[in-house]
């Protein structure tokens, strides 16, 4: 054996002793709020988000013999383990690796769907979906419209991990939902929890429109819920009012929902401010009615997302609120978001729209 390698174990031990902790994994920037057990959906088991997603795909593959799951490294279970065990259970022709090519994955998925096969495609990171932008925006989104409904690719669902994870830097952290939100014809969904992930993914797969399912990757392991074992679908295009309140409406999706839930608790406890918290759930087409109704009641609104401010989906929501709730507003609508910069590695805690930034915004709007 190579001497440089033999000696190495000594160095490692020395390393341990010599160095004080310089890099500490920061704990996550939010507190996970588990879902309540919904008894009407039958027996549940504790699952984290990747297990819940795995369970949804397991159900699809077992019930629909004409369904397939594919993407980069999907065969051995995927880099986030979402597809683990599926190839063993359903065979290599139904759960398989593709060559490393996102435009290929989405184009192939569209073709499967056009031919009548239920296609669940995985793009390894949302940051790497841009090579497939043409297939998603010009093809998937417009298939039905341009063919006079002769052809569609509604059986396609593209799953992809997104959002901040603590140390992902520019290309393992982005929340690109608003790029796709500019494409009528797509449905865009981002779950906030393990429980909602399973029900929403099953809805996306069965919805007769192409769907992009963004999975906040920090929650794969961290989000643990009582997840129903059986098949269940949660509605697309419908926002969830998670906390009812009267002073201000806080709107978010994905991980940010948990930031807002915590902020609502702090605002209530420390300042007696009553926040209504809405998880938008579906970015496209979004549930304007629920948002409008809430803001007409509270008179104030904050939209918060990790993606940059300019052109983020918060801009769309703010504009709509302004149009529909103008006479009910007590203060300007505020966006608390990522900055108009790429997602920076070592500055993540400064970049994110954390609870303190949200809290400051709430106080400013209440005292406006």
């Amino acid at each position: 054996m190579h001497t440089a390698i033999n000696k190495y174990s000594l160095v490692c031990n020395a390393t341990k002793n010599m160095l004080c902790g310089c890099f500490k994994r920061r704990s996550s920037h939010f507190v996970y709020h588990p879902e309540r057990i919904s008894s009407e959906l039958g027996k549940t088991s504790k699952k984290n988000m990747y297990q819940a997603i795995n369970s949804a795909m397991d159900l699809v593959l077992s019930k629909d013999p004409n369904s397939v799951v594919f993407g980069e490294d999907v065969g051995f279970g995927g880099v986030f383990r979402c597809t683990s065990g599926l190839r063993e259970r359903y065979g290599e022709d139904r759960v398989f690796n593709t060559p490393l090519c996102e435009q290929g994955i989405v184009g192939f998925g569209i073709g499967l769907a056009v031919a009548g096969t239920t296609a669940i495609a995985e793009i390894q990171f949302a940051d790497y979906m841009f090579p497939a932008l043409d297939q998603l925006v010009n093809e998937a989104a417009k298939y039905r419209y341009r063919s006079g409904n002769l052809f569609d690719c509604g059986k396609l669902t593209v799953r992809t991990p997104c959002s901040a994870v603590g140390h992902g830097g520019l290309y393992h952290s982005q929340s690109p939902e608003s790029f796709y939100a500019h494409s009528p014809g797509l449905k865009i969904v981002m779950p906030r929890s393990a429980q909602t992930a399973k029900g929403l993914l099953l809805s996306c797969v069965r919805d007769p429109n192409p769907c992009i399912f963004f999975e906040p990757k920090i929650m794969y392991r961290l989000a643990v819920d009582d997840v129903p074992d059986d098949d269940y679908e949660l509605p697309l295009g419908k926002a969830d009012v998670l906390i009812e309140g009267k002073d201000i409406t806080l709107i978010g999706w994905g991980t940010q929902v948990h930031v807002l839930l915590e902020v609502a608790e702090i605002a209530n406890k420390d300042f007696g401010i009553s926040c209504e918290v809405i998880d938008l759930v579906t970015i496209l087409p979004w549930d304007k009615q629920t948002v409008t109704k809430s803001v007409k009641k509270t008179g104030r609104a904050i939209v918060s997302h990790e993606a940059p401010l300019t052109g983020g989906f918060g801009a769309e929501i703010s504009a709509s609120i302004q149009e529909d709730c103008f006479l009910h507003l007590e203060s300007p609508i505020r966006r608390v978001t990522g900055y108009d910069t790429p997602f920076p590695h070592v500055f993540e805690q400064f970049y994110l729209p954390n609870k303190w930034k949200c809290l400051q915004a709430i106080k400013e709007l209440i005292n406006y």
């Binding site: 190579h2 001497t3 440089a4 390698i5 000696k7 190495y8 160095v11 490692c12 020395a14 390393t15 341990k16 010599m18 160095l19 902790g21 310089c22 890099f23 500490k24 994994r25 980069e72 490294d73 065969g75 051995f76 279970g77 880099v79 690796n97 060559p99 490393l100 090519c101 996102e102 435009q103 290929g104 940051d127 790497y128 841009f130 090579p131 603590g166 140390h167 992902g168 830097g169 520019l170 290309y171 393992h172 401010l309 300019t310 900055y339 108009d340 910069t341 790429p342 920076p344 590695h345 070592v346 500055f347 805690q349 400064f350 970049y351 954390n354 303190w356 930034k357 400051q360």
Partner: protein, 403 residues
């Protein structure tokens, strides 16, 4: 039934899309022949002997040979320290170069220092050989104040203008067409600079690889496409990535010359690069060089490769360790011995640990750096956002790291 057959037409083709071509009366399917794969050029065998039938090869000067060897060892020790430091939570991520030291150092040694390098991420050795110091690598991995990338990117995303090494980007294969553009620029400016672009066999599946090959060929660009075929793209084995004869087989389709080389044989890589460089510069044509090697380590610190490959497979490749192979050659030529090895390894470890300690203690860049370099100048909207963060931090200073 159709009328009589006429003899095959051997007139020059009027077709625009092909060169002189004959017609044929026999309707055949041209199946790809995979029976005669492109051979692998090698110089050293596993015991570190030069194969007897090697003709007109270049052996570097003794001091260059030793520099090459030391760089390989240095790279592998740096890898182990940084890999281990990630395991201990000191840096957030790391990717090792283990098993591919010869491909990296051999190619770096055969290039000119002002040749422009576009890399993927498993090419730290190229930068190291060019004199980018271990301390600089460590500064980048910590994203500290002295990181040339100013803390913006994840660990291993190195770059250095002084070393003609374009800063890495995580999205795969984007560097290929970019490198072709640089090669075209150098050609037009008539400066004697070669461009080399490194990529994995997995990355070669991206659409950008097709774009790059075809642009380089049609626009006559002097560029070396250096494919590190290490058998895996994360968990996906190469045989699920393509069904042709590796990456070299793409050359003919694009009208591009190719060389296939044993990537674990540093002398073979070195000679292949020198020849490739000569070819691309003299002919103003691209060349695809495929280095056959093996990714001995996990894909990255986020990966556990035992989930998808056998221990036996990894062990088999241990015997093909490119460092040991090269060391045997040096030993046989009295250029290196066990004592040299121990002294160099110990000294290197000591120095690297010192660099590591220093890098680990340096501050992070100031948070305002976050708003820098988005544009050449900071636009008003960003200034406004920076000011709002300034105001926010002043009100909530307890919740942010002290400056």
């Amino acid at each position: 039934m159709l009328s009589s057959t006429i003899s095959a037409n051997i007139e020059e083709s009027l077709l625009q899309g092909v060169n002189k071509v004959n017609c044929t009366s026999s309707l055949d399917i041209n199946e790809p022949s995979l029976n005669s794969p492109v051979p692998i050029f090698s110089i050293l065998n596993d015991t570190g002997d030069i194969l007897s039938n090697c003709k007109s090869i270049i052996i570097p000067e003794n001091n260059e040979l030793i520099k090459m060897y030391k760089s390989m060892v240095l790279l592998s020790i740096m890898d182990k320290i940084l890999y281990e430091s990630q395991r201990q939570g000191r840096i957030s991520f790391y990717m090792t170069n283990e098993g591919e030291e010869a491909a990296q150092i051999g190619s770096a040694a055969g290039l000119h220092v002002n040749d422009l390098v576009y890399a993927q991420y498993r090419e730290a050795g190229v930068l190291l050989f060019r004199g980018y110091t271990p301390e600089k690598f460590m500064n980048q991995c910590f994203g500290n104040v002295d990181d040339l990338g100013k803390g913006k990117q994840m660990p291993v995303h190195y770059g250095s203008k002084n070393h003609n090494f374009v800063t890495l980007s995580s999205p795969l294969t984007t560097q290929l067409p970019q490198a072709v553009g640089s090669a075209y620029s150098f050609k037009r400016l008539k400066i004697n600079r070669c461009t080399i672009v490194y990529f994995g066999e997995g990355a070669a599946s991206e659409g950008d690889a097709h774009a790059a090959f075809n642009f380089a060929s049609t626009l006559d660009c002097p560029i070396i496409f250096f494919c590190r075929n290490n058998g895996y793209a994360i968990s996906t084995p190469a045989n699920e990535q393509y069904r042709g004869d590796g990456i070299v087989s793409r050359g003919p389709g694009y009208g591009i010359a190719t060389i296939r080389v044993d990537g674990n044989d540093i002398l073979a890589v070195y000679n292949a690069i020198i020849k490739a460089r000569e070819y691309v510069m003299n002919n103003t044509r691209p060349l695809i060089l495929e280095a056959m090697t093996y990714r001995r380590g996990h894909h990255s610190t986020s990966d556990d490769s035992t989930a998808y490959r056998s221990k036996d497979e990894i062990k088999e490749w241990l015997d093909k360790n490119p460092i040991i192979r090269f060391k045997r050659l040096l030993e046989k030529n009295n250029l290196w011995n066990d004592q040299n090895e121990v002294e160099y390894a110990n000294e290197t470890k000591k120095q690297l640990m010192q660099s590591f300690t220093i890098a680990s203690k340096k501050n992070k860049p100031n948070w305002r750096e976050m708003f820098n370099d988005v544009y050449h100048e900071i636009p008003d909207n960003l200034l406004e956002q920076m000011n709002s963060l300034e105001d926010h931090i002043s009100k909530y200073s307890d919740h942010y790291p002290k400056e």
